[in-house]
């Protein structure tokens, strides 16, 4: 008598064998390799060459890096960049933190929900549109800001065209600096703090400011570190506003290394030197990220 074959129960998802998993992942990582890893590696190699993008590259050793030390435009741009990073770090963390605290302390859950929604909605507006909006706000002749200040008797300013004001105008473009996910990240951190901690603080008679300093800040330090890294990378890599609004001018007053790199590569055909600037930017970001990661979080026990 032939026994019927025992049928194993069918599972909706079979476990993928490790060899197949590699196969499935291969296309993704191949594309990642071609588009995300190969260009930086090529840029790393090209930074040791004189290359105009068309002719054969010529080996120049460390010349591009040596040239950086005497490149006055780059040095000016680095100083501008330091100001931008410091400003972005202070404002880009403190403003979201204050906004998150205010929302967190609202009694109405409905109000908290709507504030969160209102913070997220502007994220759908493309960055270029926002930059062009600020261009209109800053227009020296028909701009909103000058019209507003005019009501208070303050004379019109050439915000983006005055060497003393242009960098500040660029830095202030995110006002009131609470857009994007920054507030939500801090808010998520505050929500993760157990209610028993706040109850205990309340019983002990801890005030709002004291609670913020002694409890909230230490307990959201993980989120603050994340923001610190994101804000710093964003500030160091970003030059869209300068490219669209000022092209680094007037003079060099809004020039940053990223834009200088762009000019070198695509306006002046010095791709080897641009690669060297890019490599230095990468190293600076790497070191700063490592430094931030190394910041020890306070013992919250």
């Amino acid at each position: 008598m032939v026994k019927p074959a025992t049928r194993k129960p069918r599972r909706l998802f079979k476990t993928v064998r490790p060899s197949r998993a590699h196969l499935y992942l291969a296309p993704t990582f191949m594309l990642l390799g071609v588009f995300c890893y190969y260009p930086p590696l090529l840029a790393f190699a090209r930074s040791f060459y004189t290359w105009n993008g068309a002719n054969a590259a010529t080996w120049c050793g460390l010349d591009n890096f040596r040239f950086m030390l005497n490149d006055e435009v780059l040095l000016t741009s680095v100083w501008n960049q330091i100001k931008i990073v410091l400003f972005a770090t202070v404002v880009g963390i403190s403003a979201p933190f204050i906004a998150a605290e205010l929302i967190f302390n609202l009694h109405s859950a409905r109000a908290r929900y709507w504030y969160r929604v209102l913070l997220v909605v502007p994220m759908v507006v493309p960055g270029v549109v926002l930059i062009l909006l600020w261009q209109f706000i800053y227009d020296p002749n028909v701009g909103l800001l000058n019209a507003l200040l005019g009501h208070f008797g303050i004379g019109a300013q050439a915000w983006l065209h005055d060497p003393k004001l242009a960098l500040w105008a660029i830095m202030c473009m995110g006002f009131p600096f609470v857009g994007g996910v920054n507030v939500l990240i801090i808010l998520a951190g505050l929500n993760n703090i157990g209610t028993d901690v706040f109850d205990a603080a309340r019983i002990d008679g801890v005030g709002f400011v004291q609670r913020m300093v002694k409890i909230d800040i230490p307990l959201v330090m993980g989120q603050v570190k994340l923001l610190l890294i994101m804000v710093t990378i964003g500030a160091l890599n970003g030059y869209g506003a300068q490219l669209i609004l000022t092209d680094g001018g007037p003079g060099y007053s809004t020039m940053v290394p990223g834009l200088h790199m762009y000019h070198q590569a695509f306006l002046f055909d010095r791709l080897g030197y641009a690669c060297a600037i890019g490599l230095m930017l990468f190293l600076v970001i790497l070191v700063l990220t490592a430094f931030y990661m190394g910041i020890k979080e306070p013992d919250t026990q």
């Binding site: 105009n52 435009v73 227009d139 028909v142 050439a158 065209h161 007037p250 070198q264 306006l267 002046f268």
Partner: protein, 446 residues
């Protein structure tokens, strides 16, 4: 080029179909021949890339448009010389004995022809610029006459400012036009003659300019360069608030709003707001005024020629030659450039009306008072401004800081001198790196 549709929209503000109509007419006269239009990019660099690839692949159309002179095409053997055809009569114009005679004087002569002396181009329209002014603002400021010299020009701007308007700006300020203008106003013929020696053709070639700077004939040490800085600084007081030389300045909106007294634009640029129904003021035009020695020790005292060049030009390519279509192509171009057809091309009702390069074309009445230019032009000597892209960019940035008061004249000159040296080095290095050996300069002749 005809537009895809004659429906006016933001993307298609000036529809045109005259060339298509003319092609249809010409095809009726030439049964069996078909003219096809190829749609190309309006982006200049994309168009140049397209021409390069089409020419390299042997698929370039028989007729293309290019900028006047056509050295680039001629040096590569891609363009056909039209000298022989220009001497023939145009059969579409009664009594014409030489096609060449139909064009405005100077359009087919140096400095607008190729460096080898041959004429490869058939000009279609003119690219010209000057000072367009708001007649309403002039009346309000009590200005009745146009300025005759630079000092009167400055005084006029002061009156416009006093009347509460922005006196001057224009898209032309963000270009080499000021250098060309002051090159004429502070002209030094002796310097020109020392430069125009490698290719003595009445115009300065890039190699001659670099040689001049390399040998110290031109540069930041010249009196006229110093005077250029000084005069521009004096003038900048009257430019619109928030002017910028490092970023393309937006001036048309300010003009459209009736807040700008004068605007330095091209005729095409001004057409944009001339045709604007929202503009409710009249526009007048005048050319820049001479700078006499009373204003500057370097002043030439000469009235500058109106800045005008042949604009869009047609070229016959080697495709026409290879296919034996040169005569047919020339016939089509002759048809296009008879005065009445040229008028239909440039003065099309729905399109931007630009001055034509063909003599006898009745211009748009609004341009009637600005057609007394001399396209022959005297020798042009630009104010030297860097010699590589990077050097010129830095010159502009330093200059901008000088105009805005962030640098004094000594600091400005010191920084410019540094970039001048870098510019010479870069210009020579870039040239010596050219793939085509024939394009490299022979510095032993310098």
């Amino acid at each position: 080029m005809p537009t895809e549709t004659m429906e006016v929209s933001d993307e298609n503000p000036y529809p045109r179909k005259a060339i298509q109509t003319l092609a249809q007419e010409w095809m009726w006269m030439h049964p069996g021949v078909r003219i096809e239009f190829t749609r190309v990019s309006t982006d200049q660099s994309a168009y140049i890339s397209w021409v390069n690839t089409q020419a390299a692949g042997g698929t370039i159309p028989e007729i293309i448009f290019w900028w006047p002179g056509g050295d680039y095409l001629a040096q590569r053997g891609w363009a056909v010389s039209l000298d022989e055809f220009l001497a023939r009569p145009n059969p579409y114009v009664r009594g014409n004995t030489a096609w060449r005679d139909l064009f405005l004087a100077g359009c087919l002569e140096p400095p607008h022809v190729a460096r080898d002396g041959h004429c490869y181009h058939i000009p279609f329209d003119l690219f010209m610029s000057g000072v367009f002014y708001n007649k309403h603002i002039f009346a309000e400021a009590g200005i009745t006459g146009l300025p005759k010299d630079w000092e009167a020009f400055m005084a006029l701007q002061r009156r416009i400012r006093e009347a509460g308007y922005e006196p001057f700006w224009g898209a032309a300020m963000w270009s080499m036009w000021p250098h060309a203008l002051f090159g004429n106003l502070l002209y030094d013929e002796a310097v020109f003659d020392k430069l125009d020696v490698l290719y003595p053709n009445g115009r300065l070639e890039p190699e001659e300019e670099v040689r001049g700077a390399f040998l110290g004939i031109t540069g930041t040490h010249e009196l006229r360069f110093h005077e250029f800085l000084r005069l521009m600084k004096e003038w900048s007081v009257y430019w619109k608030r928030g002017f910028s030389l490092s970023k393309n300045p937006e001036s048309l909106n300010l003009s459209r709003l009736g807040k700008l007294g004068m605007s330095w634009e091209s005729a095409g640029g001004v057409s944009l707001y001339r045709n604007d129904p929202g503009v409710d003021f009249d526009i007048g035009f005048f050319n820049f005024c001479p700078i006499t020695t009373k204003t500057s020790p370097a002043g030439s005292g000469k009235k500058p020629p109106l800045q005008a060049w042949p604009g869009t030009c047609f070229y016959l390519t080697r495709s026409a030659e290879e296919k034996g279509l040169v005569d047919l192509c020339v016939d089509w171009l002759m048809y296009l450039t008879s005065p009445e057809n040229a008028e239909r091309l440039t003065q099309e009702e729905t399109a931007l009306k630009v001055p034509s390069a063909v003599a006898g074309v009745r211009p748009d009445p609004s341009f009637a008072d600005i057609l007394d230019y001399d396209l022959k032009q005297e020798k042009r000597l630009l104010i030297p401004w860097g010699l590589s892209a990077e050097s010129a960019d830095n010159f502009t940035r330093i200059f901008e800081l000088f105009l805005l008061g962030a640098l004094d004249e000594d600091e400005t000159l010191e920084r410019m001198k540094k970039w001048e040296k870098i510019g010479i080095e870069q210009a020579i290095r870039n040239n010596q790196m050219l793939a085509n050996e024939a394009d490299r300069w022979d510095m032993s002749k310098w």
